[in-house]
């Protein structure tokens, strides 16, 4: 509070060559330090601790927790998580793009209720969404009963636990985020571009794929990354709707930390997950900057 007061309210003298633009960075810097960097460093330290078998852990410097990554069980789990999240993010953004584009071309009176509906989905927590899908996909009360009633199925079946169930719930969860990320750039998008494409002989669908999508490349990539990172962090859906064989890295971390009491290994995996996300965001940021510059 006091830092903010001095930086914002008073005219700021220049101390030793530090101008006020740098000073303004101090409060968020402190926040990041306390709430992000410190826990991360603690976690990083713990990831090198020695795990006492059948006990807790003691400070040490061992690489055993990281060496465990080369276990094929872990590697397949990693590959599975990354693939699942990649598929979810691609499907989610592929649905969100045309959806948002069409919504942005509707009248204001229709756009507003749709956006409000999406915000409503955001207010539902992962837990509620997860449980709703366990009901919807269940044998006793799920959609298969409707299919039976329609005569498509002979008897009701359960659609979970399965990978498809995880994906459906995750898509439901991520879709509003994807739409809300791409909504502002799409609604600001210059309408004369698809119109120009039309006068040059492109029908609406071709114009969408040859002009709208490429011109919004940066937006699409950031939406993909956002959904990917989001999906990577979600651990309730795989746990509620999947078999242990479908568990993603986040679930494995929880499992190790809470049920197996292997905090150092959980910490090592978390560090690894953080680094993947970080590398992805930085890499994609660099890539989009290069392609747009």
């Amino acid at each position: 509070m006091t830092v903010q007061d001095t930086t914002i309210l008073r005219p700021i003298p220049r101390f030793r060559g530090v101008d006020h633009k740098t000073l303004i960075l101090i409060p968020p810097g402190i926040m990041l330090l306390v709430f992000f960097l410190c826990p991360f460093l603690i976690m990083g330290a713990v990831s090198f601790y020695y795990r006492v078998p059948d006990g807790f852990y003691e400070p040490d410097f061992v690489l055993a927790n990281y060496a465990a990554f080369f276990d094929p069980v872990f590697l397949t789990a990693l590959a599975r998580s990354l693939t699942l999240c990649a598929v979810i993010s691609v499907v989610c953004v592929s649905l969100a793009m045309p959806f948002t584009y069409l919504v942005s071309r509707m009248r204001r009176g229709i756009q507003v209720p749709i956006v409000i509906l999406l915000l409503c989905i955001l207010t539902l927590s992962e837990v509620i969404l997860g449980f709703s899908w366990t009901i919807l996909l269940s044998r006793t009360a799920g959609v298969s009963n409707v299919l039976v009633w329609l005569g498509i199925l002979d008897r009701p079946v359960s659609y979970y636990p399965s990978r498809i169930a995880i994906m459906i719930a995750m898509l439901h969860f991520c879709f509003p985020f994807a739409v809300l990320t791409i909504y502002p750039p799409i609604s600001r998008f210059d309408r004369s571009l698809p119109e120009a494409a039309a006068t040059l002989g492109a029908g609406p669908i071709r114009a969408f794929f040859t002009v709208v999508i490429p011109a919004l490349r940066g937006t699409i990539i950031s939406a993909l990354v956002l959904v990917f990172v989001f999906a990577l962090g979600a651990y309730l859906f795989p746990q509620m709707l999947g078999r242990p064989a479908d568990w993603t890295l986040s679930v494995l971390i929880t499992d190790q930390a809470i049920y197996k009491s292997n905090i150092p290994f959980a910490a090592a995996m978390s560090v690894f997950l953080c680094l993947i996300c970080f590398a992805l965001i930085v890499g994609v940021g660099k890539l989009t900057k290069k392609s747009e510059g």
Partner: protein, 350 residues
Amino acid sequence: MTTLTLEHVWKRFGSFEALKDINLNLPSGKMITFLGPSGSGKSTMFRLVAGLDDTTEGTVRFDGEDVTRLPAHKRNVGMVFQNYALFPHLNVWENISYGLKLQKRPKAERRARAEELLDLIKLPHIADRSIKQLSGGQQQRVSIARALAMEPRLFLLDEPLSALDAKLREHMQAELCDLQQTLGITTIVVTHDQREAMTMSDVVVVIDQGEVQQVGSPLEIYRKPATPFVADFVGSSTLLEGIARSDGTFEFNGQSLKVTAPDWASRDLTPGLLCLRPEQLHLAPRSAQTPNAIDVDVSLIRDLGSEIEVQARAGEYEFLVKESSGQPLGYGVGDKMRLHIPETAHLIRA
């Protein structure tokens, strides 16, 4: 070369009538301008021609062929947008050859066509530049090249010059005219600048409040405005209210002025407006007893160097007179003078 015909075209946005019963028949291979004040419906009409919006009622024809329900991408009109609308993800030559790429033409052919057009717009050597590296004027030319790449039936430009500075603007006006003459393509330019319309076009279509006021050559529009709106919007003029008679007299303020009788003044006592342009008017001293003149008071004199602008009043009417700056005027502000009305002054039906 395509003639454009609009028949009883209406456009409504909800209850608002943006275009009211437009009937036009525009010749092929000519430079045509749509001239009108802001909000008059120029862009609306334009978008109907391009097929970007649907007509509410009426028919649009290219060479007699009904294209009213044909979507924009099947009309083959080349269009230059006000903000150029160049595709940001493509470079210059890819922008120009976008339409050819849709037709799956081979790359060498597309490239060759782009280079040919870049020569035409006098910007060779920029084929591989990105759009962001171009100045406003260059972007505009590229967008012209792109619009021409498909050899369109009609070439449409919506306020193409409004974003350019005065000098570049005049230059581009001349170039656009050259280009149009070289290609002989039917070209329609939207503008709200009457000078631009006068200097560039073969045919001017004056629009106000969704209605066509007059269609004609620039000279016709200026010399013989069809409605009071045209007289006022194109050039400056003073309109005298009075009664036109078929014998070629115009009753104004109890005076009888001699004018050429218009064909519509067949019956006696038709209300009319006499359109007076500054360069038609002359001031003379009252003592000279000039015939066909009205009494005025000089209210303002402005020496512009090249000419002298004199303002004179008679009751509620104000006249602008242009005198040459060579010799002394021989009168000053406040002097009582006579304003000579030429017999060639144009009469507008009120």
